[in-house]
Symmetry: C2
Subunit: 438 residues, 2 copies
């Protein structure tokens, strides 16, 4: 976990503002959920490994005493609250809980921190921000298209040129698993192995699948189905898969993907989408199309998402379909830094007010107030140091102007304005200062 | 802890933006610190009661196993991280830790959630936001004046008319305690009792002080010193106190307060400040002037702060003076709601795009994209429902316009724009839509 000093906060704010603006333009509205959830909400949604990474809050007071007094107990007896692990599960809980207060389609965005007790690495932190947009209440692929266009617009507005959105479908994965002759009950195991393809290579995945009692032949067949060179077009990939997936869940998924690509064909997302049969996505709750942003400038994904039609039903009586996308803020920031994509952002005061010795300070404060009322960011030097030291402070902070105020200036209501870069100085009244500094 | 649905988030965002804008105008720059701190950073800073209210994170994996295996253990063996309890202690840690990277005066604002395992009540939550502004590095009362003017400007810009800022000084409290003949070592106990004056009244405070071995005479003397009617002017209060505080720490504090009031005399904070000798403030780290916002419209404080010259030194070798103010977001929001101070904020899409049956949907998505590129917030109705149902959805969400798109509209590139309130409808091309909706 990290401290963010002012320059870092301003960079984060810039990116968050772009993301938020685009989400709003796409009709998403904001939601915020508590940092802590009941463990019963969190557990069993992220897979076994995910459950292990949830931060738990120690019972307090009597509850703790009672737990400790019982003598034998487990982790579960010591905590009932956990820290938010992603933004999708809280959304699902909210949609089930407030069903009657929410519109038919809940298009929500949410930009909040999540916590994972993971081993930190480049771009992976224990506290990090996710920037999610989801649409609940429809099975229409229009929702996928809408989410994908929002994400594409964000990547474009931030200045990324080398991104693509990998596209796959849980149904296509299931179809390929069946076509490879792997038993349906081994689907989860197979996806876990496949998810490591980029990390451990074909040989590694073959070994892992065989360890999990999948025949070498089936494993090889699956790998040949997902094996696609980077240059293959979406149409070529469709052709490669079609002969093995002529019916059933796999064929239906191929049709979905074809429709989705067509829906995006006249908008920016169209050019970003790349069929990627090997894409598995770790989380267990996806049911339909799945996505992941990759960039040739960055190893790993910048965000991802997909359709999850069965998650909301876990929190209520009604099954409500949903699709969404999550952008990982810290990785976007890392890549923005690497590529130098930040615009110059003004972060400091525009002017420092410096008082000479014996100046009536209430007048100095009043002057600063008048400028601030007109939208000019003003810092007041608080101590009675020599003028050179005061100006040195403005220089150090890259504050571009100083106003020099003495007893006479207060009396005459004309103040010395000095531009530090040029060294130019002029005497101005308050209106003159406002005009010059605005 | 609460979920914030879109309307509530937008209200929060409005207030946060006002606060942030004012802080920036006063030359403050943003800082963000992690949600979790080492318990060693947090403990011993907030008083005994505060320590009890800190949320602690349960050890995980091996550390937990090891702790459990040892058989006998306390709370401290089960956790080493705690949740942020306020924003002042993290600031103090940061200033000590990054001393060489920060300017001479670190004027930082910070708007982040904090957590307290407290009993919830009206305006008191377990997760809540604080909006802090602090100046480190100077003992000058100019810093107090700057912080107080920022807070005053925030209250004014939010539309509060019935607020005042209660002003006191830890040195004045000490001086009054000495003047009342109370032993210096009972200062903490005395302040704890005095802090309850508004809650339990004079009799209650007298009883509590006598229980703590303060003589009735001393207790009565102290209460007579702090007893000030609401109508007394600051000058009258100075006069009331002066005879008992002619020298030492109390007299110095009176001089400080007089200087501070004079510094603010020509700026908005001047009219807000009210000398309040009974104001004690719970937190133990204050050393100089202390403040609290009160309102005749609200029971309890909306925020507070003060000078704490010894806190940063607890985290490093160097003692660095500091002063700051913390605004409690949730109480401000409650009061804004009670007083109806929110402006109308546009929260939803401006227009809903409705597709008729057999419309080429890729064209619908493309049309929405063109409008969004021009800054118009557009929602697309995702399902192929009857037009009446689609328009009903726009009505329900108070989306003011719908665009009706059919096969012919796509072919002719002229679309039906309907304003829902008036029922007026016209056929426009994309440029016409943009002009009308911008």
């Amino acid at each position: 976990m990290r401290d963010f000093l002012p320059e870092a906060v301003n960079k984060r704010k810039y990116v968050i503002e772009v993301i938020e603006r685009v989400y709003k333009l796409h009709g998403f509205v904001p939601l915020e959920t508590p940092s802590m959830e009941n463990l019963s909400v969190l557990l069993g949604k992220y897979g076994e490994e995910g459950d292990q990474l949830i931060y738990r809050l120690l019972h307090r007071g009597e509850k703790l005493t009672r737990a400790l007094d019982e003598g034998t107990f487990t982790e579960d007896d010591l905590a009932e609250l956990g820290m938010r692990y992603d933004l999708t599960v809280p959304l699902a809980r909210v949609v089930a809980q407030y069903r009657n207060d929410l519109p038919r389609y809940f298009k929500r965005y949410q930009i909040q921190p999540v916590w994972r007790a993971d081993r930190p690495a480049k771009g992976r932190f224990r506290e990090f921000f996710q920037c999610d947009a989801d649409i609940t209440g429809t099975e229409s692929l229009m929702a996928e298209a809408d989410v994908l266009n929002a994400v594409t617009s964000i990547l474009n507005k931030l200045g990324f040129n080398n991104c693509q959105i990998d596209l796959n479908h849980r149904g296509l994965l299931r179809g390929m698993i069946l076509a490879a002759g792997i038993e349906p009950k081994l689907e989860g195991t197979t996806l876990t192995a496949l998810d490591k393809l980029d990390k451990i290579g074909e040989e590694g995945v073959l070994d892992e699948m065989q360890e999990k009692e999948i025949s070498k032949e089936s494993a090889q067949k699956l790998l040949s189905l997902v094996a696609v060179t980077g240059e293959a077009s979406n149409d070529e990939i469709f052709a490669h898969l079609r002969s093995d997936l002529r019916e059933g869940v796999g064929a239906a998924a191929l049709a979905d993907l074809k429709t989705l690509l067509h829906l995006c064909s006249e908008s920016p997302a169209g050019g970003m989408l790349k069929l990627t049969p090997r894409l598995a996505r770790g989380l267990s709750y996806y049911t339909g199309p799945i996505f992941e942003i990759t960039s040739t400038d960055f190893k790993g994904s910048l965000g991802g998402g997909g359709r999850y039609d069965n998650l909301i039903g876990m929190f209520g009586k009604q099954q409500i379909p949903a699709v969404g996308f999550s952008i990982g803020l810290e990785r976007i920031l890392l890549l923005m830094d690497d590529l130098g994509l930040y615009p110059d952002v003004e972060t400091r005061a525009k002017v420092l007010v410096c008082a000479l010795k014996d100046t009536p300070l209430e007048g100095v404060i009043s002057l600063a107030g008048q400028l601030r009322e007109r939208g000019i960011a003003v810092e007041i030097y608080p101590d009675q140091h020599k003028l050179g030291r005061q100006i040195g402070y403005a220089d150090e902070l890259k504050i571009p102007f100083v106003i020099i105020v003495g007893e006479e200036e207060i009396r005459n209501q004309r103040y010395g304005l000095k531009e530090l870069v040029s060294g130019e100085q002029e005497a101005l009244d308050v209106d003159g200062l406002i005009e010059k500094l605005s």
